[in-house]
C-alpha cells in the first residue's frame, strides 16, 4: 500500500482509533482521555497539512476497497474534500478543548468523547468520500454517532430533541438511499468526477434525472436544514454547547451542504444541472430558506434557538452559491462553507460560556454581560458582525463573492435576498450586542457558576477557543487573498471544477 493510499486512511484512523479507545476508559481516567483526544486532533491536523501541501502540488490521494461486486468504498482526498476536511479538523481541535472545559466533572465523559470522535470520523469520511455509496455510509454513521450526543443529558427534553432529530435524519437517509441506488442503476456507478457523470446519459428521460435529483437533494437537504426540512435543528438545541457547535459548524449541517456541492458539481455536473433546469428551483428554495431562517431568528428569545435559526439561514448561503451558475458563485458558496463554520462555532462557544459562567440562556438576560465577560463578548461581537457581512470579517468576503456570482449568473434577485438577509442579521444580532455592552448589568446573574479571577472571566478552556475562532474570522477576512486562505483554496477548487466542465 502506497503512502498516497495510506494518508486518507490515516486521517480517518486519527479520530476513529482514539475514539474507540476512549470508549473503554474508566470515567476517572481524565488524563489519558485528554491525551488521546488531543493526540488524535493534533495528529489529524498534521496529516491534513501534509495532504494540503500534496494536493496543492497536484498529487492524487485515494483508497479503494471492494465490499461487493461492483460496489466500492472509495476515499479521495481532492481539493474539495480538503476544504471540508481542514475546516473540520481545525474546528475539532478547538471544540475538543472547549468540550474538555465545558464537561469538567460532568458524568459519562468517556461515552461523550467516544461518540464525539466517531462524529468527526464520520465527517472525514463524508468529506473524502469518492462516490455516493461511500458518502452514504458515512452520512448515516454521522446520524448514528450524533444521536447519543444530542440525548447526552438524558432529560426528557433531550430525549425528545434527539427523537425529532432522528426522525428527520433517518427519513432523509431513506430518500438519499433511494436516490443513490437509482442513480447507480442509471449511470452504472456513482463516482464523484469533476464535471459530473450524468451528461452522457442523453438517452435517459430528463424527468427521471430530475426526480432522482429531488430525492438526492431532499436526502442531504435534511441535514443542511433546507426549509421545510429544517425542523430538527432548533429542537436539537437541547444538546450541550460543544455538541451544538459540532452540529452547526463542524459536522452535521456542513455534511448536508457538502453533499449538495458534490451532487451538483460532481454527479450531475454544473452545466448538465443547468440544462436540466434544476438549479433555479434549488436557488429559489435556498432563497426562501435564507429569508425564513432569518425571520424566525428575529423572534427567538432563547439565545441558542436564535443562533439555530441563524444557521438555517446561513447554511443556505452555501446552497445558493452552488446554484449560481459560474465560477464566482461557486467560490462564494465554497468559501462560505468555511466562513460560516468559523463564525457560527464562535457564537456557540460564546453562548455556552454565558450559560456555563452566568447561567444566561435568554437574550433578555444578557444586559451588561459584556462588562462581566468582555473577552467572550468581544468574540461574540466579531462573529456576529461577520454574520452580517461587516467589512474586515470573513462574512464580508463570502457576501461579496456571492453577490458578484449572482450578478454574473444573471440572477440579480439573489442579490436582494442576500441584502435582505444581512439586514435581518443585523436586526437580530445588533440588539444582543447593544444589550451586552451598553445596558447596565443586573444586581445578580441568573446562576453564576464560575467566579471571575483577575483577568480570567471564565475557565481558560472555555475562553480560549472562541477567542481563536474569532481571530480566525478576522484573519479570513483580512488575509483573504493569501494563498492558503479559505478563499484561495475555494478559487483553486473552482478552477479545477470549471476546467473539467464539458470534458
Amino acid at each position: 500500500m502506497s503512502i498516497n493510499e495510506l494518508l486518507p486512511l490515516a486521517v480517518i484512523a486519527s479520530s476513529l482509533l482514539p475514539g474507540l479507545l476512549i470508549f473503554t476508559l474508566p470515567e476517572g481516567n481524565i488524563r489519558l482521555r485528554t491525551t488521546l483526544n488531543l493526540f488524535g486532533a493534533l495528529a489529524k491536523l498534521g496529516l491534513v497539512g501534509a495532504l494540503l501541501a500534496g494536493v496543492a502540488a497536484g498529487e492524487d490521494y485515494g483508497f479503494r476497497h471492494t465490499v461487493l461486486p461492483g460496489v466500492e468504498l472509495v476515499f479521495k482526498a481532492d481539493a474539495l474534500a480538503l476544504l471540508f476536511v481542514s475546516l473540520s479538523a481545525i474546528l475539532w481541535l478547538f471544540t475538543t478543548l472547549y468540550a474538555i472545559g465545558y464537561l469538567e466533572n460532568a458524568p459519562h465523559r468517556s461515552r461523550f468523547f467516544g461518540f464525539f470522535s466517531l462524529c468527526v470520523t464520520a465527517t472525514m469520511g463524508i468529506a473524502m468520500a469518492g462516490n455516493l455509496f461511500t458518502f452514504f455510509v458515512f452520512y448515516e454513521l454521522l446520524t448514528l454517532a450524533t444521536f447519543p450526543l444530542v440525548v447526552h443529558r438524558g432529560t426528557p427534553q433531550a430525549i425528545r430533541g434527539g427523537t425529532i432529530y432522528l426522525a428527520y435524519t433517518l427519513l432523509g437517509g431513506a430518500l438519499l438511499l433511494a436516490g443513490i441506488v437509482w442513480l447507480n442503476q442509471l449511470a452504472g456507478h456513482s463516482e464523484f468526477v469533476q464535471g459530473g457523470i450524468l451528461a452522457r446519459l442523453a438517452s435517459v428521460h430528463p424527468a427521471t434525472l430530475q426526480a432522482a435529483f429531488v430525492l438526492l437533494i431532499a436526502g442531504v437537504g435534511v441535514k443542511a436544514a433546507i426549509v421545510p426540512l429544517h425542523g430538527w435543528l432548533p429542537q436539537a438545541m437541547v444538546a450541550p454547547a460543544p455538541v451544538s457547535a459540532l452540529l452547526h459548524a463542524v459536522a452535521v449541517v456542513k455534511a448536508g451542504a457538502f453533499g449538495v456541492v458534490r451532487i451538483v458539481y460532481e454527479i450531475y455536473g454544473i452545466e448538465f444541472a443547468q440544462s436540466l433546469g434544476v438549479l433555479v428551483p434549488l436557488a429559489a428554495i435556498a432563497a426562501i430558506t435564507i429569508l425564513w431562517g432569518s425571520l424566525r431568528a428575529l423572534f427567538q428569545n432563547d439565545l441558542k434557538k436564535r443562533l439555530a435559526y441563524s444557521t438555517v439561514s446561513q447554511v443556505s448561503y452555501i446552497v445558493l452559491g452552488v446554484t449560481l451558475f459560474g465560477p464566482i458563485g461557486t467560490i462564494g458558496g465554497l468559501v462560505h462553507l468555511v466562513h460560516q463554520g468559523i463564525m457560527k462555532i464562535t457564537l456557540f462557544f460564546c453562548a455556552g460560556n454565558y450559560a456555563e459562567t452566568l447561567g444566561i440562556h435568554k437574550i433578555s438576560e444578557m444586559d451588561g454581560a459584556g462588562r462581566r465577560m468582555p473577552l467572550t463578548t468581544l468574540a461574540f461581537t466579531i462573529a456576529a458582525l461577520g454574520m452580517m457581512g461587516a467589512p474586515l470579517t470573513a462574512g464580508a468576503v463570502s457576501k461579496a463573492w456571492l453577490s458578484d456570482g449572482a450578478q454574473a449568473a444573471g440572477m440579480a434577485w439573489a442579490v436582494w435576498v442576500l441584502t435582505a438577509s444581512s439586514l435581518l442579521n443585523a436586526a437580530y444580532f445588533l440588539p444582543i450586542i447593544y444589550r451586552c455592552w451598553f445596558r447596565p448589568a443586573p444586581a445578580s446573574w441568573p446562576h453564576e457558576h464560575i467566579l471571575p479571577a483577575g483577568r480570567r472571566e471564565t475557565a481558560w478552556l472555555l475562553l480560549l477557543p472562541p477567542l481563536f475562532t474569532a481571530a480566525a474570522t478576522l484573519a479570513a477576512g483580512i488575509f483573504a487573498t493569501a494563498e492558503f486562505s479559505p478563499l484561495g483554496w475555494a478559487q483553486l477548487i473552482a478552477e479545477r471544477e470549471y476546467l473539467n466542465v464539458g470534458k
Binding site: 476497497h65 471492494t66 427523537t163
Partner: protein
C-alpha cells in the same frame, strides 16, 4: 474408513451428536465445556470446508460408500458452507454466553438438546435427498421444542406446545409432499428431481410443491403463519431465543431456497409473487407489533417476524443473475449475527434489571454500556444502516429490485428499515434516559462473558458490512 475419517462433511454431523450424547450421559447441567470445545472444532472444520469449496467447487460424499439411493449422499456447495459457518460461529458464541447465563437447574438439559439441534441443522445443510432432509427437519424441530420447554415454567410449556404443533404440522406437510413426489417419479434425490419436474409436472407434483412450501413456510414463520414464533422465541431463555431466531428459522428457509432453485426451479417463477407479498406483509406486521409490544423480548421476537419478511422479497428476483440470492443469503448471515446479539443483550438487560418490560431498559446506558452498545450495533444491522451486513443486503436487494423494475420491493425494503428504526430506537432512547433508580441500588455488573459475547456477535454483523466479499464469492458457484 480412513477416507471417511478426514471428511469434514461427516464430522460436522457426528461431532455435535457426540458431545450431545456425552453431555446427556454426564447428567443435568453438565457438558458445557465439552460443547464449547466441540463447537470450536466444528467451526474449524466448517472453515476448512469453506476454503475447499471456494477453491475446488462443491464437495460430495456418500456415507459408507454405497451409491444412491442406498447410501446417504452428502453435498456441500457455497450456500451450505455459508450456513455451516454461520451456525457453528453463532452457536459457539452463544454457548459461551449460555454457560454463564444459566444458573444450575435453570435448564438442565440445555447442552444435549443444543447438540442435537446443531447436528440436525448441519445435516440439513448437507443432505442431498428430500427424505433425509425430512429427518433432519424433524430432529431440528423436536430439539428446538425441547429447548423452549426446558425452562419448565407454565408459560414456556404452553409456548412449546404451540411450537410443537406448528413444527409437526409443518414437517408433516413436507413429508406428504415428499411422498407424492416419490409416487410420481420414484426418487427423492434433489439433483435427479430437478430434471424430472422440468420435463413433466402432473397435478400431483404441483400439490406436492404446495404442501412442501406451505409446511416450510409454517416452520419459517412467514406471516401469516408466524403465530407460534413470538411466544416461543420471546418466552424461551435468552440463549435459546437467540439460537431459534438467529439459526433455526433460517434452516427451513435454506430448504425452501434449495427446493426453489433445485427440484422446483421450473415451476417456481409462476408463484414467486406469493412469498414476496407475504414477506412484505410480514415486514409491516412484525414491525408494527414490535413497535407496540411492551415486553422487551417480544419486541425482539416480532423483529424476527419482520426480518424474515425480507428473506422472501428476493423470490421474484431470483430469475436473473445471482444478485438476489446474494442479497438473501447476506441477509440471513447479517440477521443471524445481529439477532443473536440482540437476544442475548436483551437477556442480560433483563437479568440485571429484573424487569421484562421495555421500560425496564430505562437508564441502562449508564450501568451496562457494553450490552447497550451491543444492542445498538445489532440494531444498526437490523435497520439496514451502514456500515453493516444488513445494509449491504438491503443495498443489493434494492439494486436488484430496481434493475428488474420491481420498484415496490425497493420501497418495502426502505420503508421496512424506517419501521425497524422506530422499534430499535424505542429501546435505545430509553436506555439513554437519565434514571434515578440506579442511585439507590448499587449497580450489579454482569459477568464479562454475558456482555462481550453479545458485543462480539454485534460487531461481527457490523464488520460484515465492510468485508462481505468472502461470503459473496462463496455463493458464486451456487446454481443458478
Amino acid at each position: 474408513m480412513t477416507d471417511t475419517f478426514f471428511v469434514p462433511l461427516v464430522w460436522l454431523i457426528l461431532l455435535p451428536l457426540l458431545w450431545a450424547t456425552l453431555a446427556f450421559m454426564r447428567g443435568p447441567d453438565r457438558g458445557g465445556r465439552l460443547a464449547i470445545a466441540g463447537l470450536a472444532a466444528q467451526l474449524a472444520l466448517a472453515s476448512v470446508l469453506a476454503g475447499d469449496i471456494a477453491v475446488h467447487g462443491p464437495r460430495n460424499h456418500v456415507v459408507g460408500g454405497w451409491p444412491e439411493p442406498l447410501g446417504i449422499a452428502l453435498v456441500a456447495d457455497g450456500l451450505s458452507a455459508v450456513m455451516l459457518l454461520l451456525t457453528q460461529g453463532v452457536t459457539l458464541v452463544l454457548a459461551i454466553y449460555a454457560r454463564s447465563y444459566f444458573k444450575p437447574g435453570a435448564s438442565p438439559w440445555f447442552w444435549p438438546l443444543a447438540g442435537f439441534l446443531v447436528a440436525g441443522m448441519n445435516a440439513l445443510f448437507l443432505s442431498g435427498d428430500l427424505f433425509n432432509l425430512y429427518v433432519t427437519l424433524e430432529l431440528v424441530g423436536l430439539a428446538a421444542v425441547g429447548l423452549v420447554a426446558a425452562g419448565g415454567t407454565a408459560e414456556q410449556i404452553a409456548a412449546a406446545l404451540r411450537y410443537l404443533l406448528a413444527t409437526l404440522v409443518g414437517s408433516g406437510a413436507y413429508l406428504f409432499g415428499v411422498a407424492l413426489l416419490y409416487g410420481s417419479y420414484g426418487t427423492v434425490s434433489a439433483s435427479l428431481l430437478g430434471e424430472l419436474v422440468g420435463n413433466d409436472a402432473p397435478l400431483a407434483v404441483w400439490l406436492a410443491g404446495g404442501l412442501m412450501l406451505g409446511g416450510l413456510l409454517l416452520k419459517t414463520a412467514l406471516f401469516p403463519l408466524h403465530f407460534w414464533l413470538p411466544p416461543a422465541h420471546g418466552g424461551a431463555p435468552a440463549p435459546v431465543s437467540a439460537l431459534l431466531s438467529a439459526l433455526v428459522v433460517k434452516a427451513s428457509f435454506f430448504l425452501i431456497l434449495r427446493l426453489w432453485l433445485g427440484p422446483f426451479a421450473s415451476l417456481a417463477p409462476q408463484i414467486a409473487w406469493l412469498p414476496a407479498l407475504l414477506g412484505a406483509s410480514a415486514i409491516l406486521w412484525g414491525s408494527w407489533m414490535a413497535i407496540k409490544t411492551d415486553r422487551l423480548k417480544m419486541l425482539v421476537a416480532y423483529s424476527t417476524v419482520a426480518q424474515i419478511g425480507y428473506l422472501f422479497l428476493i423470490f421474484p428476483l431470483l430469475g436473473s443473475g445471482k444478485l438476489a440470492l446474494q442479497a438473501g443469503v447476506l441477509h440471513v448471515v447479517a440477521h443471524g449475527l445481529a439477532k443473536a446479539a440482540m437476544f442475548i443483550a436483551a437477556g442480560t438487560l433483563i437479568k440485571i434489571s429484573g424487569n421484562e418490560r421495555v421500560l425496564g431498559v430505562t437508564g441502562t446506558a449508564d450501568r451496562l454500556p457494553v450490552t447497550v452498545f451491543a444492542f445498538a450495533l445489532a440494531g444498526v444491522s437490523l435497520m439496514g444502516l451502514p456500515p453493516s451486513g444488513g445494509f449491504l443486503a438491503k443495498w443489493l436487494l434494492i439494486s436488484t429490485a430496481l434493475a428488474q423494475g420491481q420498484v415496490w420491493i425497493a420501497g418495502v425494503a426502505i420503508g421496512g428499515g424506517l419501521l425497524a428504526a422506530v422499534y430499535v430506537f424505542r429501546v435505545l432512547r430509553l436506555a439513554f434516559r437519565f434514571s434515578t433508580a440506579g442511585d439507590t441500588i448499587p449497580p450489579a455488573r454482569p459477568a464479562a462473558q454475558l456482555e462481550w459475547t453479545a458485543f462480539a456477535l454485534a460487531a461481527a454483523s457490523i464488520a460484515l458490512g465492510l468485508f462481505a466479499m468472502p461470503v459473496v464469492s462463496l455463493l458464486e458457484g451456487v446454481a443458478p
